[in-house]
């Protein structure tokens, strides 16, 4: 608030020289912001527009509450899918949310910083090893691993789900398959744990230390202080984390598709094959010609999904940021009774052990996941597969490396200037607290919650029509996917730049535009860089938005070198190994690709870590 007021005052006093340039810059930034608005409105508007015929032809009630979906019979009802989506998401948040939150509590309060191994023998090597192990910062390692998992493409979780969860349940399923509601929920649970843990951890760490000390000073045990004061104080942050987890679960497509069974049933049993709203779009979209009822019905499905996401997003705002009283305002005249204080705190103590057990469980699952990928993948990680000439008989990752690189470059080339420009307009130019800004923010937030398969639908309609199936079409679609994140993170980075810096610049007579480019942007650079890296991670991990835009196929490096051709990114390639296996393309190639993706995710994490460390050091 204050920032902007000061900025406004200074604007009036800005020197006349270079006024034209300043005005032009202002309009340029405004155009960026406007483009973002158009993108958001365009998507939401078009999806609604394309979906309306479904509501009209099928009937709103029949569509939403219809219990059967059969393209053969021309019947389109999505109730089973809505219910499946909700049940699977609830199951995921119940398991993944609980485990994630407790793991965060363990990480913040009980995770030892270091190993305390002791070795008294004389073996020098062992002594050194033990000393080395003792030097590892356990908490930081755990933290980084969780972050790493948050960046792993969801398709990898799908593979993990098939290999462990589905096959483990096969015995329990009457049909011996093991796919269905339970498997979907568990895969989603594992997938949201990193998100929930990492955000809950931030929320817990943001609770002022003085609450904790205050509780201890009253005679609380550590467990009591943590569970009765600190955790409730972090509540709104934890709830936001859970809601984001829900958003991720609702929007997930590909991993669920791999383990759900794909039938349109109510989830009335643990192993009932189900179809969620997102997977319905993925499964049926290929068959939908423009103007058909199916086409409209799928867009209407997308719209319902959008509404669900919007409700989830809005409910974040409903979470009270501060405590609101709940105890009745009764006049108190309690009888003076003998008060006997006792030592209590069994429940927090139990919860403490629950946190420890869950954290251990996470360690086991995560270790299993990573080891599983490495063990299966590394033997298949051959030079020829990575960089060899690609053909149908010898698929290699080379075209995918090129396609991924192109997608990143093209996407960022568009999304970064537009996103940063929009953020500059919002922070530096727009009237603070104006309705336009508020509406824009709400829409940007909504856009960031839109499941990527919906972007895929939109991209197929617009960009594939414009550019044909190509890396261009995929990249433009990805612009829409990453734009909200870039805008929001840049905004936050800009707001974090102290007002005093701007004042100092204006005080020296610098123009607004000069201040922005020479003072504000460089100060916000680490934040923007981090946002860019996260956007790169998102681009690399995306699959649902790309299969209907840049295509699933095996191509050659030569063809991939032209972004006008179709080419799969690494994650799409990984998905393709499962979805369209041939004799030359299957699980072996999939796990090798997964290893590559894991390494890339780790490198990106390292970048973020280094940037953060540099910023900390500077301060």
């Amino acid at each position: 608030m204050q920032t902007e007021n000061v900025v406004k005052q200074k604007k009036r006093g800005a020197p006349n020289a270079g006024k034209v340039r300043n005005t032009m810059a202002k309009y340029l930034f405004f155009v960026c912001a406007a483009m973002s608005v158009i993108a958001v409105f365009g998507i939401i508007g078009y999806i609604l527009y394309a979906g309306i015929p479904a509501f009209r032809d099928i009937g709103f009630f029949k569509f939403i509450f219809g219990t059967n979906w059969s393209h053969d019979a021309g019947v389109y009802g999505i109730l089973p899918m809505i219910v499946s989506t909700i049940v699977v998401t609830l199951g995921a948040i119940l398991v993944g949310g609980t485990v994630g939150v407790f793991t965060a509590i363990f990480l913040v309060f009980w995770c030892p910083d270091k190993f305390h191994l002791r070795y008294n023998g004389n073996n020098k090597f062992l002594q050194k090893t033990v000393a080395c192990i003792n030097k590892i910062n356990l908490r930081a390692v755990f933290d980084q691993v969780i972050k790493l998992l948050a960046g792993i493409p969801s398709v990898i979780f799908g593979y993990f789900g098939i290999a462990f969860i589905v096959s483990a349940f096969a015995g329990a399923d009457v049909y011996g398959i093991g796919k269905g509601a339970l498997s979907s929920a568990l895969v989603l649970a594992i997938m949201i744990i990193p998100t929930v843990t990492s955000l809950s951890k931030n929320a817990l760490e943001a609770v002022p230390q003085q609450y904790y000390e205050g509780a201890l000073a009253m005679g609380n045990t550590k467990a009591q202080a943590v569970f009765r004061v600190v955790f409730p104080a972090a509540r709104s942050g934890v709830i936001s984390a859970l809601i984001l987890g829900i958003g991720r679960a609702v929007g997930e497509t590909m991993a669920v598709n791999m383990v759900s069974g794909g039938r349109v049933y109510f989830p009335d049993g643990l192993f009932t094959p189900i179809r969620t709203l997102t997977t319905n779009i993925a499964l049926e979209f290929a068959d939908a010609s423009r103007g058909s009822t199916l086409f409209a019905a799928l867009f209407a499905t997308g719209f319902v999904l959008l509404v669900i996401v919007l409700i989830i997003n809005l409910s974040v705002n409903l979470v009270p940021k501060e405590f609101k009283g709940k105890r009745g305002n009764k006049v108190l005249h309690g009888a003076r009774e003998e008060v006997v204080y006792e030592k209590k705190g069994l429940i927090p103590e139990i919860l403490k052990y629950v946190a420890m057990v869950f954290a251990a469980l996470i360690v086991v699952i995560l270790a299993a996941l990573i080891l599983f990928i490495l063990i299966q993948g590394i033997p298949n990680l051959k030079w020829d597969f990575l960089f060899g000439e690609s053909s149908h008989q010898h698929p290699s990752l080379m075209p995918s490396f090129i396609a991924t690189l192109y997608t990143i470059l093209i996407t960022l080339a568009i999304a970064l200037p537009v996103g940063i420009g929009a953020a500059i307009y919002l922070v530096e130019y727009a009237k603070p607290g104006s309705k336009v800004v508020k509406v824009l923010r709400t829409f940007v937030d909504t856009l960031s919650g839109v499941p990527s398969i919906v972007f895929g639908l939109f991209g197929n309609l617009l960009f594939v029509s414009l550019f044909g199936y190509s890396v261009w079409a995929g990249s433009f679609t990805m612009v829409l996917v990453v734009l909200p994140t870039i805008i929001r993170s840049t905004e936050e980075a800009l707001i974090a730049v102290p007002v005093s810096l701007r004042e100092a610049s204006y005080g020296l007579g610098a123009s607004k535009i000069r201040t922005i480019f020479k003072i504000v942007l460089p100060s916000a650079f680490p934040g923007i860089a981090t946002a860019t890296i996260l956007a790169i991670g998102r681009i690399i991990g995306e699959s649902a938005a790309l299969i209907y835009t840049s295509g699933m196929l095996i191509t050659t490096a030569g063809a991939a070198a032209n972004p006008g051709n179709m080419a799969p990114t690494l994650t799409v390639f990984l998905y393709m190994c499962w979805a369209e296996p041939t004799n030359y393309l299957g699980y072996d190639q999939a796990y090798a690709t997964a290893v590559v993706l894991l390494i890339i995710a780790a490198l990106l994490n390292l970048c973020v870590y280094l940037i953060e460390r540099r910023v900390k050091k500077k301060r």
Binding site: A217, R228, E322, K326, V339, K343
Partner: protein
Amino acid sequence: MLKFIKKKAAQSESAEKKSPLDIFDFSGENAISVKDVDLYYGEFQALKKINMQMPKHKITAMIGPSGCGKSTLIKTLNRMNDLVEGCRVEGEIAIGGVNIYDKSVDLSALRKNVGMVFQKPNPFPMSVYDNIAYGPRTFGIRKKSTLDEIVERSLKQAAMWEELKDRLNKSALGLSGGQQQRLCIARALAVGPQILLMDEPTSALDPISTGKIEELCEELKKDVTIVMVTHNMQQAARISDKTAFFLLGEMIEMGDTEQVFSAPKHPETERYITGRFG
């Protein structure tokens, strides 16, 4: 835990409804006695051979320049220093006749009896009522009427019942800084401590709020022993009964406040009090 319950059962039969947490005997003249205490943060020695007695139902003020060890000492009295990594205490601190660094001493029992008020007011993000009832609840008081009574009594003790009785269900974070600090005092009182440690309780407050807290301290010393760290020498002079002066980890002198301020025995004390350094 089990051991504890057994112990409690045994006690409740013998003594008439005595809380199992009241393990201290405050019948003696001094509430706290510190004997030859050395304290180290890793290699650094923060306190050197401290010896002092803090008399019951009196206000003991600890003064001295920043970094002299007074805050460190007050935190050893309820073992909040345990939170600091690498902190080591040698010597004996006896509260109510019990060496609190003895292994058998239960931390909860210690801190129930030795309450603490911090430099910065730190009410929990809960309602006023829940803040006060927090302590009793964690010590097993569940009955609504009992809790009501404790809340009322504690707020009255802290002289803010009239101000707050209509806002008990409002967030404590909405109170002013001075109110928050008095609420923290009331919260500490709610578990019935014998000693109240105050670590610069008014340094974040305006003069009016400071005055109210000082008045409150005078009032409270009927019930509890108060140990206070302060930077404000006038405050020490105004309200304390005993004053101890610290410098570089050592206690330079301690005596009746009047004597320390009017006729300090030690030249360093005089220089500090007259404002020539610090």
